[in-house]
């Protein structure tokens, strides 16, 4: 009986994790919070379900909406007594983004973060491939773009401007 209950609980947890993980980033709608690595965990305890998320950038205004959407998605799937908790430690980094997530970003026209966020403070150059034509002949316009997580670049080969998901 005990084993059956815990098996049932584990199945419920897996289901809740999958549902919560499908919630999309409102700023980059091709990415789910599972792709981003924003969804940290789902716990079920005494009939209460808790989804744990972590912010990407400190000032990311999407976090409140993500928390709300996770709650709504779980409730719509029939879970009751849902709580969303935000944790700050360990800190999120772009290294947590899944390979699938990076491929989706590139297909959407946003250059994905390059592996291993560096510690370059003063100066130094980055090479970012154009997500449209693949050329490495690109140029940074500004390190700050349309959202906290993106920089503004342009491609010299195809002449298109593009967003680059900044390494953090």
């Amino acid at each position: 009986m005990g084993a059956a209950v815990s098996l049932d609980l584990e199945r419920q947890r897996a289901e809740a994790l999958a549902i919560a993980g499908e919630v999309c980033d409102p700023e980059v709608p091709v990415l789910t919070i599972a792709d981003l690595g924003v969804l940290r965990d789902v716990r079920i305890e005494n009939g209460r379900i808790e989804a744990v998320i972590t912010p990407t950038y400190s000032g990311c205004p999407a976090m409140n909406l993500i928390a709300l959407n996770v709650e709504v998605a779980l409730e719509e799937a029939g879970f009751t007594n849902v709580k969303v908790t935000t944790v700050l430690s360990p800190a999120w980094t772009t290294d947590w983004m899944s390979e699938e997530g990076k491929a989706k970003l590139a297909a959407y026209g946003i250059a994905p973060p390059r592996a291993k966020a560096g510690r370059r403070a003063l100066f130094g150059e980055e090479v970012v491939a154009c997500p449209r034509c693949g050329s490495a002949n690109t140029q940074k316009v500004s390190e700050f773009g349309s959202t906290a997580c993106k920089a503004h670049w342009r491609c010299r080969a195809c002449a298109e401007p593009f967003d680059y998901f900044k390494c953090l």
Binding site: G59, L88, S89, A91, A117
Partner: protein
């Protein structure tokens, strides 16, 4: 109100970030070019985001029911513990960039070191903030160099900004009794251990910018004890307007 060292150092860091973030937000709609409009808003957003996490943490440490809004909006001027540097007016673009360079050249190594704080939440906030501050150092240094090593007029303005703001740099390194206690408890780094990195960043950027540090006998001080410059009251009048007019208003 009893202020533990952990509460106080967390509050000070939050106040620094909030007040500078607010100053940067004043540039919205006034930046010299569109890219800079976005950049200044992004820098401000990073800092306000850091402040939110720090205030929430400070409120939890205090345990008196104050949340991030209560701490950010509903204190009096002498209860804010930010350094005087961050409340200085935006001035011209050179002043804003010099202020940003001084602050971020200090906070970048500070957060890097605080990422191994014995307080797990401070460590988590710092691990993220370190990377954000690297962007701030780079952006402000690039501008200080461009302005300092630019035209005669831009050089003059950058040098004026440095002369006016450098007297506020020393306060970043101040260590009083609660700060000393927090350092000894392994909560925050000793600012003295960051001086070499700070000096190296400033020296490299200023040399390339052809700017010179003014010679000073002493630095301005007072913000950590709640004694502010005349600019702070005006800043708070704007920052707190909504909460003072509609107390407890929430988004």
């Amino acid at each position: 109100m009893t202020e533990t060292p952990l509460f106080l150092v967390t509050l000070r860091l939050a106040d620094d970030a909030l007040i500078l973030g607010h100053r940067l937000s004043e540039w919205c709609g006034h930046a010299p070019v569109l890219e800079e409009e976005l950049a200044l808003a992004n820098l401000g957003l990073d800092l306000i985001g850091q402040a939110r996490s720090l205030y929430t943490h400070a409120g939890a440490i205090e345990g008196a029911g104050r949340d991030e809004d209560g701490l950010a909006y509903l204190r009096r001027e002498n209860e804010y513990r930010n350094v005087l540097l961050v409340e200085q007016p935006n001035g011209d673009f050179a002043a804003t960039m010099v202020r940003q360079l001084i602050y971020s050249a200090f906070m970048h190594p500070f957060h890097r070191a605080m990422a191994s704080s014995k307080d797990a939440t401070l460590a988590g906030i710092a691990a993220k903030a370190e990377k954000e501050m690297a962007y701030h150092v780079r952006h402000s240094a690039e501008w200080v160099i461009r302005l300092g090593d630019g035209t005669e007029e831009s050089h003059r303005r950058a040098q004026d900004a440095l002369d006016a703001l450098w007297p506020y740099a020393g306060e970043l390194f101040e260590v009083d009794a609660p700060m000393r206690a927090a350092i000894e408890a392994g909560l925050v780094p000793d600012p003295e251990s960051l001086r070499a990195t700070f000096d190296a960043t400033m020296t490299e950027a200023l040399a390339e910018a052809t700017l010179t540090l003014p010679k000073l006998g002493s630095f301005q001080t007072g913000g950590r004890a709640g004694r502010h410059t005349e600019h702070m009251g005006f800043l708070l009048a704007q920052l707190q307007y909504m909460q003072r007019t509609y107390p407890n208003a929430a988004w």
